[in-house]
Homo-oligomer: 212 residues x 2
C-alpha cells in the first residue's frame, strides 16, 4: 500500500465512488476500461481520473486502459475494505434504527454488533436481531468486543460528552450524524454527516438552476 | 444576490456550515467575529474564510471583522433559506421514515408534505402526521401541491425510473439517498447522499490514523 500521508481529502472522498463504479462494471463482466470511458460513466474528466489514480501509483497502461478487476481490488486495499469492521450505533432513535436496518454496510464487511441508548423504552428491544443496550454498558462492550467504529446519532447537546467517552474507550473512528462538528484528538478519525447541510446545498442548487 | 454562476461547488458546500456556525454565534449573543476567530472555531484557515466570503462580495471590514447577524442573513439569502420549500419523500422505508422524523428540516423551512410508496403495508399509515400515499398518486400530488424537492429513498433498481418520473412531473430538485448516481437533465438539481461512501471514507481515515 502506498504512503497515504499526502493524499488530499478530496481524492480520498472520491475513492468509494470509483470503487462503486468499478464494482458495477465487474458485475456486468467488463474486463477493462479506458479513463475516457470511465470518465463518461462517472461524469468527471478523464484527466481527473488519471490524476486521482496516479496518487496510488497509476495502475493504467497507455492504449490499454485500466484492468477493472485489478483496479477494483487495489482501491479496495487502499480503502481498507475486505476485512470485517465492528461498529456500534450510539443512539437508537430514527436515524440510528435506519442505519442498523441498512444492510448495504454489512455486505461490505461493516458489521453493527451493538446499539446503545439512555432511553428505557428502547433498551432491551432488538433491531434486525441486534440488541439495544443501556448506554452505561457501552464502555465495557467496546473493550470486550474490540469495536472499531462508533456511529453517533444522538442529539447535539449530548454529542460532545459522548464522543469524549468513546475516545476514552479506545474508539478509533466516529461517524457523526449529530448536527454539530466534533472536535477530537488528531488520532481519532471523524466523518461528519450533516443532513441539513446537504439539503441546504440542494436548495441552493435548485434555486441556481431556476435562475438560469 | 450576487451572480452565482462562477461559484465553485466546494464553496457552496461550505456555506451551510458557515450558516450553522453563525447561527450558533447569534444564539449566544455574539455580535461580531474576526475571520481569525471564526477560523479557530470552524477549523479552516482564515484566508479560506475570507476567500469563500469574497465570492459573495465580502461582508467583512478590516479591523472590525464580520457582523455576525448581517453575515448570517446574507448567507441565508444566498442559500435561499427563509422561505418554505415543500418536499415529498419517495420510499417510506427506514431511511425515508427517519428523514420524515428529522424535525431539524422543518425548523429551517423545509417541509415534508407527502410520502409515497408502492408497498400496500405502508400505504395509509402516517408518520409524524404525514400520510403515506400510493406511488400511483405521486404525479397528481406533485402538480396539485407545487412540490419543490423530492427525497428519494428507494432501492437502486427503481431509482432511475422514479427519478425520470419525478422530472416529468416538474420536480426541480432531487435529494437522492438511493445508492447510485442519477443522470438527469442539467435543469434538475441533484444532491447525492451515498451512505456507504461516507463510511468507506471513514474506514480509510481510521486506517490512516492507525498507520501513523
Amino acid at each position: 500500500m502506498a504512503d497515504n500521508k499526502k493524499i488530499s481529502v478530496a481524492v480520498i472522498k472520491r475513492l468509494p465512488r470509483y470503487y462503486r463504479y468499478l464494482g458495477d462494471l465487474l458485475n456486468v463482466g467488463i474486463v477493462r476500461i479506458s479513463s475516457k470511458e470511465l470518465s463518461e460513466k462517472m461524469n468527471i474528466t478523464a484527466s481527473q481520473i488519471r490524476q486521482d489514480l496516479n496518487n496510488f501509483g497509476g495502475f493504467g497502461q497507455r492504449g490499454y486502459g485500466y484492468n477493472v478487476e485489478f483496479l477494483y481490488n487495489e482501491i479496495k486495499k487502499i480503502l481498507g475494505i475486505g476485512k470485517e469492521y465492528k461498529m456500534i450505533v450510539v443512539g437508537a432513535g430514527n436515524i440510528g434504527q435506519a442505519l442498523v436496518n441498512y444492510t448495504d454496510f454489512e455486505s461490505n464487511g461493516f458489521k453493527i454488533v451493538g446499539i446503545f441508548d439512555v432511553n428505557p423504552r428502547l433498551i432491551g428491544m432488538t433491531i434486525r436481531g441486534i440488541e439495544v443496550y443501556d448506554a452505561d454498558k457501552m464502555e465495557a462492550f467496546i473493550k470486550n468486543n474490540e469495536i472499531d467504529i462508533a456511529i453517533l446519532t444522538i442529539p447535539k447537546t449530548q454529542a460532545k460528552a459522548t464522543a469524549k467517552k468513546l475516545v476514552e474507550c479506545g474508539i478509533k473512528g466516529i461517524w457523526n450524524f449529530s448536527p454539530m462538528d466534533l472536535e477530537l484528538p488528531k488520532s481519532i478519525a471523524v466523518e461528519n454527516v450533516h443532513l441539513t447541510d446537504g439539503l441546504m446545498t440542494l436548495i441552493y442548487k435548485t434555486n441556481a438552476v431556476l435562475d438560469k
